[in-house]
Symmetry: C2
């Protein structure tokens, strides 16, 4: 296992730490938040805007890129970095989460021993997603950090399903790793995902099996349940020198609590999705921009925020745009919320480095 | 009549000319194209983007601002310039066009001798738009160039209606001017609108009556019909030292032909609306970005265009965004098309100044 992650400082009273991931496209300072560039774009935002907000890494969704524009198109266009004009690091998911959502929610497929059979949400075409296929596509778009295809179960799953989830997740991680080792560049990173639902012995077993298949330089938390007890326990299983990644988490409060458990990496649609609903984050709390009290508010969302929305517009104007359903509002709010998340993560990193993390944690 | 317009050069073979309008917010070089900032925003674009594309003046729609956020809000927020962070000149329409569309198309109102009674398109509330009310609202948002409330008729109107249109337009221009003279700042400009449908003697009569009420420093062409013969004839009625304004026109081809007739000012939703339909303008012709031939096209929309879309992205990526219905595509296309219009108008001005306008005209 090549060393791609270094812990750079550790908090004395919690398990929080700062670190650095070394990728082909440069370093990622952790704890880090990774916005979702689902279809090769962070909804509403240009690559120039992403570059100016202090963003370190993006997440690409293999399921979506597979369907549109198709992995061969991205590949022929020079890879995802070149295609979307984002030259920093990119992490990709396996596509499994979206595919299993279709299987579970819409009964559009089935999990087999060697992969997932499903019908896509656009045309209903039948596809088969295998561990190798997922890695092949992630390599095809030129990802810097790849995730193995895993098999999460539903929140209310029984012990038999949970065991099957761990078993298939291990088997698929092995197939993923074999394919990755054969076809990847030396500077690409493959991470595994720990399953086991809410069952601690199963979580432990899942990690140990994966570590035997690996060892992997990093592990994702495979949900559900995304509760604090399981999250803390799973973090404690992963060795100190590996990347710990909470996939699909979360709110600022979720994140800082997970950082205290020792987690390093987070991705979530919350900041951008909430932006599109007019819910804005500030260090003084949330702003619901549609509220009448902002009708004549001449102040920005947050005075010391460097984003275009805060540097240019009053809350009154932003409220007007939002209520009139002007798309500019959704762009400005996405820009603001992601800028907030970047500033929030920076504040977390700084507080760990300067031994003030516990004080920051108490505020949340 | 204060002098607010100066002709700076004249083409020798057509009636085209360059000129300069002097407004409270600075000069506007003509021929000029004025994008629609309907609700206090050019759909999809930030004020920063407007500033960097060489845009000279914006059009605010009084009907829309009246309903949302309301003129008192805009006024309390320091006027439309301040509210939307656009510190260049702003021209406003009277609101009449939108209101009459409701009356004609949806039978939601009635034209009376002293104004237009109508129900708005949002809540169906009953309103009464008078000439004074329109001027009062235009002054309320702090417009630099105001338009009188006029009374255009439908394309297929009869002589009696056409005569009534001219009669009311004159009467309303008089009321507008009286109110404007009493309440405006000295550096604001009021322009009238010539009616008379497709009937040349009525067009002449309309201009002469308005000139008696005025004289006005500029005249708009009141449609319909927006055909070449009537457009050329109406331009010829307006003295050389006045601003000639084609309201709601048009495509690049429409514009250059109207410039050749002596028209100076144009506003239209075409570049932004077509952008939202994936129709892009270039100096080599139109690009329909959804076409399959652009699937792997590594070139920008137009190599020498300075807009963010052309400086950053390939046609293949833009096509992907558009087909995936990503809002970033609509923003980038709006940015590109307006940048094209600004470059096109600059090229027209330059060609008139350097006596090469006829050659440029022949290309269209």
């Amino acid at each position: 296992m090549k060393k791609v992650f270094t812990v750079t400082s550790e908090d004395k009273t919690t398990r929080a730490r700062t670190g650095q991931i070394t990728t082909a496209q440069g370093p990622v300072l952790t704890p880090a938040f990774v916005p979702d560039a689902t279809l090769g774009v962070v909804k509403h935002l240009s690559s120039l805007e992403l570059k100016t907000m202090g963003l370190q890494m993006l997440l690409g969704n293999i399921y979506h890129l597979w369907l549109r524009p198709g992995v061969p198109v991205v590949k022929k266009m020079g890879g995802l970095h070149q295609f979307m004009d984002w030259h920093g690091p990119i992490i990709t998911d396996s596509g499994g989460f979206q595919v299993l959502s279709l299987v579970y929610k819409n009964k559009m497929g089935k999990v087999l021993a060697n992969g997932i059979k499903f019908k896509d949400h656009l045309t209903g075409t039948l596809h088969f997603l295998t561990p190798e296929k997922s890695i092949d596509m992630q390599l095809g778009v030129g990802s810097d950090i790849l995730m193995v295809l895993d098999y999460p179960v539903l929140e209310n799953s029984n012990l038999k399903d949970n065991k099957q989830s761990v078993k298939l997740t291990t088997a698929w991680a092995k197939e993923s790793k074999n394919y990755f080792d054969k076809h990847s560049r030396k500077d690409q990173i493959l991470m595994a995902i720990i399953q086991g639902a809410g069952n601690m012995p199963l979580r432990k077993q899942s990690f140990e099996e994966l570590e035997k298949v690996g060892p992997f330089p990093g592990y994702g938390f495979g949900g559900p349940p995304l509760n604090e007890k399981i999250l803390a326990y799973t973090a404690s299983l992963i060795p100190q020198d590996r990347i710990r990644y909470v996939m699909g988490g979360g709110t600022p409060r979720d994140i800082i609590k997970a950082v205290a458990m020792g987690w390093d990496l987070f991705d979530c649609v919350i900041p951008t999705r909430n932006a599109r609903h007019g819910l804005l984050y500030t260090f003084k709390g949330e702003v619901r921009i549609s509220q009448t009290k902002y009708k004549l508010d001449k102040k920005p969302i947050e005075a010391d925020c460097p984003c275009l929305a805060c540097q240019t517009y009053t809350k009154a104007y932003l409220r007007h745009l939002f209520k009139a359903k002007e798309p500019l509002a959704l762009r400005l709010f996405s820009l603001h919320n992601l800028t907030f998340y970047m500033r929030f993560m920076k504040r977390i990193r700084k507080s760990i480095e300067t031994e003030r993390f516990s004080a920051l944690l108490k505020n949340y």
